[in-house]
Symmetry: C2
Subunit: 284 residues, 2 copies
Amino acid sequence: MTTSAIADALRLPAGPVDLTTIDTDAAPGFDGSKSDGRAALLAMGEELADLQERLWAQRTVGAERRVLLVLKGMDTSGKGGVLRHTIGLVDPQGVRITSFKAPTEEERAHDFLWRIERGLPSAGFIGVFDRSHYEDVLIARVRGLAEPDEIERRYGAINDFEARLAGEGVSIVKCMLHISADEQRERLAERLANPAKHWKYNPGDLDERAHWPAYRAAYETVLERTSTQVAPWHVVPSDKKWFRNLAVGQLLLDTLRGLDLQWPAADFDVAAEQQRLAQEAPVQ
Amino acid sequence: MTTSAIADALRLPAGPVDLTTIDTDAAPGFDGSKSDGRAALLAMGEELADLQERLWAQRTVGAERRVLLVLKGMDTSGKGGVLRHTIGLVDPQGVRITSFKAPTEEERAHDFLWRIERGLPSAGFIGVFDRSHYEDVLIARVRGLAEPDEIERRYGAINDFEARLAGEGVSIVKCMLHISADEQRERLAERLANPAKHWKYNPGDLDERAHWPAYRAAYETVLERTSTQVAPWHVVPSDKKWFRNLAVGQLLLDTLRGLDLQWPAADFDVAAEQQRLAQEAPVQ
């Protein structure tokens, strides 16, 4: 599979990950300005929409293929912006966004992957996880919501789960939206300064922010332990919103291109149907 | 509630409906060309997106309001086009599209409204029904899938159901996409002529088309019996795709405007949070 310069630049090297060495404000693999980047994203729209329709059409002939985009990142890192600007480029009929909240009592009574399985996109869909099974090794670790042994077990369980999904025709694209603590402070300050954004702010956001170094360490472990051949992680520098949106779009486009999606052949006699239509009794 | 010229022009008069008297190729309430119409739709995008976000924000403070768009029409009338071009203007996070297929065994074991209830949008969402409870008085009547007495019962059941939904905060927008039989023939011929569209064609489409007059009569009864004050029907001339997309966009915009959606007030002390952020210990 040929990949883009952006995908090549975002590929994570094997081994330990030190997030402090990955520039949050960069635009790796893209040689252009903000307006170039925005134009490049819009220019992808037509091909993304075409490929998404082919994926959907394949569903009608029984193909199992689907795409799962997993978006992770600290508060304000821009999951919503990616959904609006990048996912918004494709036909909403073919998109399924699953937002996971704090687990319900029923969900807590099952293994952590139970609700994830139920939130998977069906064949033909581009599914997007806004929060995901990675909460269960991130906030769960930082906030001590599970024992260390259980957290440890989960990395392997996630890899097994994702390997099974890949075998079932799910193309998994995992993106960590990487912002700096300074950028987060600015974004929180903007929310506080704008009454139209107060609903997005929660005093708990500042409490979480105080755990920044612990979250960073938890992310580093996730990146090191769950970036696999079939479901690699991409660390997307996200201080520049336009680059973040473009990079996720490019990763999605690369993935869809790699599926070699053809229009399904007719399962009926085209000429015979054309003749039926030409010879039908008057309809009015 | 102030409505637009398009909404005024599409309002259905009380009493019997004769669909043959409603021009499928018109653009009522809009005085402009195809390119003007397309520009007018795109120009709505910003306001639609803003109002959708307010609707969503209201959800976070416990408001129950939601919008339900019901799209009906003969095959090829353009439900998919409306979803792509009109619904595609708003943030996909706030949209829930429910596609109803032929009922499953479990669904058939319940009243026809059981699965509809389960497909409703939650608070804050714009829900779209691609097929709906109206199948149960349209194809069910034309194909004799239910006894006449049962069909008769359903009109009242639908009105009661929609009145209850309206009382629960659901704004219902019902659109019948109205095309001519000639236009349908052209669209079917286009699908047959284009291998990229074969997957959209089914030989059964021509069998259904032979029942055109029976469908028209069934639609007329639906329009007469289920267009109510709280959930009126709009017959949208749909031979012109651009007008169809514009008209549904305008009806949605009118509906959202009518909800007087305000940004929720902060439920925390904004100045105190600003001070906390300014005085926090260094985070990195």
